[in-house]
Symmetry: C2
């Protein structure tokens, strides 16, 4: 007996601006203020970002309430931190007329974005990513989330930023390992969507490793264009957006098996090599293509093999628990060629037998 | 230097079904299963609802994972409870293919709806309200939220239900105080939107107090139609939806000043009388109109005065902290006449001087 129906009105298309430049952090505050004239500002950052001087650069001596995540890093990406942020906002007497400014790496952006999504049914968030990883990937696209005591990203929301400011000068303060590992997501973007971008990276590794601002601006533009267009097409990850997961199925397992000792980009590098080996195993691509990718990763100094200490059964078990697993076995994003993801029957995440994956994991040692 | 823009696609209009009937709880499970064939089900309820036999009626002997909120009631409407629900879902190995079923009063619906909104970036929730309050009001409209250690509803999300099942037979198990106080929101719906509905309530108080199923079905239909149409027009509470707040400005303050000893409907009854007194004070209505409203509340046995123990300054202070306050003073929803909310310059929440409110509070003793 269907009795009544309540309409939930649709929402109109909106858009947000990504500002890219070198040394734009000092002018960002005034721009955010101008764009949100009726709003208070609340900054979420972490102790590393503060130590690097980026909070000072953003505030320029202005007083502003902020929350410093301690300790910095993945270990703080918990629901407890998100709750602490919301309670800090309340204690600062902030209401719905508040814009949250996420100043930091992927962890800061994920936590602050989630806190903004759930604070009094949602307030805007401006993302100011300060790592190569966050600038290439996590600051764009609207995925936010934190971990529970049981699993990763158990809590989350789709919460698109109101604006993104990418200051390529701030990555100068990153240590080498973090700087380099974050570039893996840029390589991934070339692989899944733009052979020209891949070749640009291949041809500019010296400038990239020297942290040349002009080259990094080019990377930022490529990254935002590629990730932006994928997200625009499939904001809620029904299908196409899955291509961003290239290298992440094995990558997530490797990252978890390392107890998060490996950085996300490092684990994804291994995962991309794994995907390449699967493609070779299935005769989808030639070893020479994988050699080109491996050569870039070796120049970046990121791993291209599974650490010897990692037990293969553990990796297999972790993959069975993959969030996107079907019947306890994940699907894989694979390439037809550089710049082109394979699509089978309209699906971008395809079946690969367990046997093939086991073989590939052996070759990854 | 605006660099790039990312489009966030709009969402299409959707709709959800409200099923209204007597003794429909035993058939609801099969209907939910049929409507969400690929989904697992997870029930959130509380110990009172279980003791009243409603969980058994819903499950009909089928095994299903569930979470029982303990203790039942407002005191458990916290972020900790929402976190515990999400972690219980994870421990039951549930994923994004899960529909949350909220079986209970307003508190259960608010907590379970919020947990569904944040579990793995959001899963559907079906609301099965079991109190007169939740059936008239909170189960419809998509507002969800929980309290922080600092304030009420600090955490929240707009998360529309996938369906609502209103079984008017389940309210038979409510104690008299809870049953009667929940009816105040039905009276409010008549006052703000439909003089005919108000007269229907006036003319059927015997049947209503006898919990006659046919009369309660009529109430449910009126309530859903009125609240549904307001929510459809203004889902995110930009303006029109504020009319649902009639009686709530003073009501929320009274509820808080009682340390939540007063039930929500009881406090709103006092708040509706306060709004009526403001209308008289401003010569917007005649005392005879307020007498009709007061007569209904007296039959329902809900309070029409502020308790003598309640300090006026405390009420004023609480109103200054009203969520919708502007310059630390709330706006009020007022009536032009029964069935018609006053609209000034296109705004449904209007300015009332502090002096008028202070006078009215004195008369409310």
């Amino acid at each position: 007996m269907p009795d009544m129906r309540i309409k939930v009105p649709g929402t109109p298309e909106t858009q947000y601006e990504i500002v890219i430049g070198s040394d734009i952090l000092p002018s960002a505050w005034a721009q955010i203020k101008a764009a949100h004239t009726q709003y208070n500002r609340f900054v979420v950052t972490d102790e590393h970002v503060i130590a690097a001087g980026h909070l000072d650069a953003l505030l320029g001596g202005r007083p502003a309430p902020y929350f410093a995540i301690k300790p910095a890093g993945e270990v703080s990406k918990t629901i407890d931190t998100a709750v602490a942020i919301v309670e800090a906002m309340e204690k600062a007497y902030l209401g719905r007329d508040t814009v949250v400014i996420a100043l930091g790496g992927g962890t800061v952006g994920d936590i602050a974005g989630f806190a903004a999504a759930i604070f009094k049914r949602g307030v805007p968030v401006v993302q100011i990513p300060t790592t190569t990883l966050a600038q290439a990937d996590s600051a764009i696209g609207g995925k936010t989330g934190v971990d529970s005591s049981v699993s990763k990203n158990a809590f989350g929301a789709f919460w698109h930023p109101a604006a993104v400011y990418i200051d390529v000068a701030v990555v100068k303060t990153l240590d080498d390992r973090q700087y380099r590992s974050g570039l893996v997501e840029s390589v991934k973007h070339g692989l899944i969507a733009d052979a020209g971008y891949f070749e640009f990276i291949e041809g500019h590794l010296d400038e990239i490793l020297a942290r040349d601002p002009d080259t990094l601006e080019m990377l930022a533009r490529y990254n935002c264009r590629i990730k932006g267009s994928v997200v625009e097409e499939d904001p809620f990850e029904k299908n196409k957006r899955r291509i961003l997961n290239y290298g992440h199925t094995v990558g997530h397992a490797v990252e978890a098996a390392s107890d998060y000792e490996m950085l996300h980009g490092e684990a994804v590098a291994v995962g991309i090599i794994a995907a390449g080996l699967i493609e070779i195993e299935l005769s989808l691509s030639k070893p020479s293509q994988l050699d080109r990718i491996r050569a870039i990763f070796e120049r970046l100094g990121v791993p291209v093999r599974v650490p010897a200490s990692m037990v293969q059964e553990k990796l297999i078990d972790l993959m069975r628990h993959d969030k996107k697993a079907v019947d306890q076995w994940p699907r894989f994003v694979l390439l037809d060629r550089i710049g082109q993801v394979r699509c089978e029957d309209g699906q971008y995440a395809v079946q690969v037998s367990r046997e093939v994956v086991v073989n590939v994991l052996k070759k990854l040692r």
